[in-house]
Structure formats: structure tokens, C-alpha cells
């Protein structure tokens, strides 16, 4: 379901990992959220730019809700957001969606990703899109 357009945006920051498929799940999840499930009310930013401290990006994230999606326990997205933006409004681990769906084993391939990986990403994207709605509602209600 494509949700309605809105002015406020929730920024989705996946971890950028390219060494393992768990990073790919995060990235694919983010694309599904911004292009399909929460189109118009969510957006992406490059994590490397956040790490670099690009001022206009940091300022934008400070003014909006931010969701981190991480693929490993080092939590690059979450930790870098905390370090550079000073807040994270919600966080997800791709490993959790894998644990919750034992029947879906993500293929190791990172380019291109496999069908099971896509299915897991869709499942996680549904959760993230729901969180987008929750955060926007929270913001509308003045928190």
C-alpha cells in the first residue's frame, strides 16, 4: 500500500555495509520504504556524508525524525548518528528479521541480492514503514 504524501519526512539511514548480506538487507529495506511503503514521507541520506559531518545533512537530520537500520553489532548507522546528529528516533537490526524468519535463509550474494534476501527486506520494510507512520503521528501530536 502506498501511503499518503506528507510534508514531514522521516530519514532512513541504512548502515552501508557491503561485506555481508545483512548490510544489503538494510539497504534494500530502505529502498522499499522510501520508494513504495512510505513514499513521500520518508527519504534517504548517505551514511558516509553523515560520518563526514556534512553540515547541511546534519542540520536536516536534526530537524527531522531519523531511523537507523544496522546489519551487524557494530551498529555503524546508530553510533554514527548518535555521534554526529545526537539522536536516533528508532533503530532496527537486520539480523532480527532473519532470526524471526527462520524459514527464509538469506543468500550470501550481495550483488545481486537473492530472492530470500528480498523477501526478508520486504518484511523488515513493513516494520520500518509502520515506524515511519508512528513517528510522524508523534510529531504531529507535538510529541
Amino acid at each position: 500500500m502506498v501511503r499518503e504524501m506528507s510534508k514531514e519526512k522521516v530519514y532512513i539511514i541504512p548502515c552501508s555495509g557491503i561485506g555481508k548480506v545483512f548490510g544489503s538487507i538494510g539497504r534494500e529495506t530502505a529502498y522499499i520504504v522510501i520508494n513504495e511503503l512510505a513514499k513521500g514521507k520518508s527519504a534517504l541520506e548517505c551514511l558516509p556524508l553523515i560520518v563526514k559531518g556534512k553540515k547541511e545533512v546534519i542540520d536536516r537530520l536534526k530537524l527531522n525524525k531519523v531511523i537507523a537500520i544496522d546489519g551487524c553489532p557494530l551498529k555503524c548507522s546508530y553510533n554514527n548518528l548518535m555521534e554526529n546528529v545526537g539522536k536516533v528516533d528508532a533503530q532496527f537490526m537486520t539480523t532480527d528479521i532473519v532470526k524471526e524468519n527462520r524459514d527464509l535463509r538469506p543468500e550470501p550474494s550481495i550483488f545481486p541480492i537473492g530472492e530470500q534476501t528480498k523477501k526478508l527486506s520486504k518484511k523488515l520494510a513493513e516494520k520500518v514503514a509502520q515506524k515511519v507512520d508512528d513517528l510522524l503521528k508523534q510529531k504531529e501530536e507535538g510529541e
Binding site: 541504512p14 548502515c15 552501508s16 555495509g17 557491503i18 561485506g19 548490510g23 539497504r27 530502505a30 529502498y31 520508494n35 534517504l44 541520506e45 548517505c46 551514511l47 558516509p48 556524508l49 560520518v51 563526514k52 556534512k54 557494530l74 551498529k75 555503524c76 548507522s77 553510533n79 554514527n80 555521534e83 554526529n84 550481495i110 550483488f111
Partner: protein, 139 residues
């Protein structure tokens, strides 16, 4: 210790160049020079303060091994991070230059490179592999 070259792609999710950099890095590490290269994670590498969470290994690797950066845009996040924390990058590959040099190849999108995009990623990867070879010869 057997010599390895680190490959660090900008990996930016928002831009087509980030996807191309990531695809090229994977092609080098998985197919073209699997024995000679290792992939480094850019945000883990660059993160200030991540040391306490265990991210120092990437920086130490780049201090002790030559590292090639693949940049998806003019911000050159990977190169800047390597130079800041580990020393000069051994080489820098700029995706923009390949996009300009191959106007006949039009990647579909950042989400899905399509046939042309993957062909372009292969060209970028081949150039990166040549740099890997040069680094092996030079030492």
C-alpha cells in the same frame, strides 16, 4: 603475512554513484582479485568514536596495507577518511569519470543498476584491478 590491498567504496545509499562504487568493489573482491584484495566498510572505518565499539581494525589495516578508494561523488568520503585516519590512499577511482567516459552506458537507477549499470561497474572494477596489480608490482 601475505600482502593484501584494501578496497573501500563510498557506498553512499542516496546516489547512483554509491551503488556503482559498491558493485565495482564487490566485483574486484569476489571475482577479479579475490586473493589480493579485502573489502573495508567505509562508515566503520570513518566513524569518529567508534573505536570503543571495535571499529579500529579497519583503520589499522589501511595503515599497514595499500588501500584503493572508489568514490561515488565529488565529496570523496572514502579518500578523506583514509587520509585522515590511516595515511594517503594508494589510488582513488572516481565513478563520475567513468560515467562521463561511457555515455552509451546508462544505469537504470541507484536501486537497480540494470544491464548497462552492471557493465559500467565491471569497467570500473577492471580499472581498480589494474591498480591492484600495479601496487603488487611496485612493492
Amino acid at each position: 603475512m601475505r600482502k593484501k590491498v584494501g578496497i573501500i567504496a563510498c557506498s553512499g545509499e542516496e546516489l547512483l554513484g554509491g551503488t556503482l562504487s559498491r558493485a565495482a568493489a564487490r566485483i574486484v573482491v569476489e571475482k577479479l582479485r579475490p586473493q589480493a584484495t579485502i573489502i573495508l566498510c567505509e562508515p566503520l572505518f570513518a566513524a569518529g568514536g567508534l573505536e570503543r565499539h571495535g571499529g579500529q581494525g579497519e583503520r589499522n589495516f589501511a595503515k599497514e596495507h595499500p588501500t584503493i578508494t572508489i568514490e561515488g561523488c565529488e565529496e570523496e568520503c572514502a579518500k578523506i577518511a583514509v587520509e585522515k585516519y590511516s595515511g594517503p590512499a594508494a589510488a582513488t577511482i572516481r565513478v563520475d569519470e567513468f560515467l562521463k567516459a561511457h555515455p552509451e552506458l546508462i544505469p537504470r537507477s541507484r536501486e537497480d543498476l540494470g544491464k548497462d549499470g552492471m557493465k559500467l561497474a565491471e569497467i570500473i572494477a577492471e580499472e581498480t584491478a589494474k591498480k591492484v596489480d600495479e601496487l603488487f608490482i611496485s612493492e
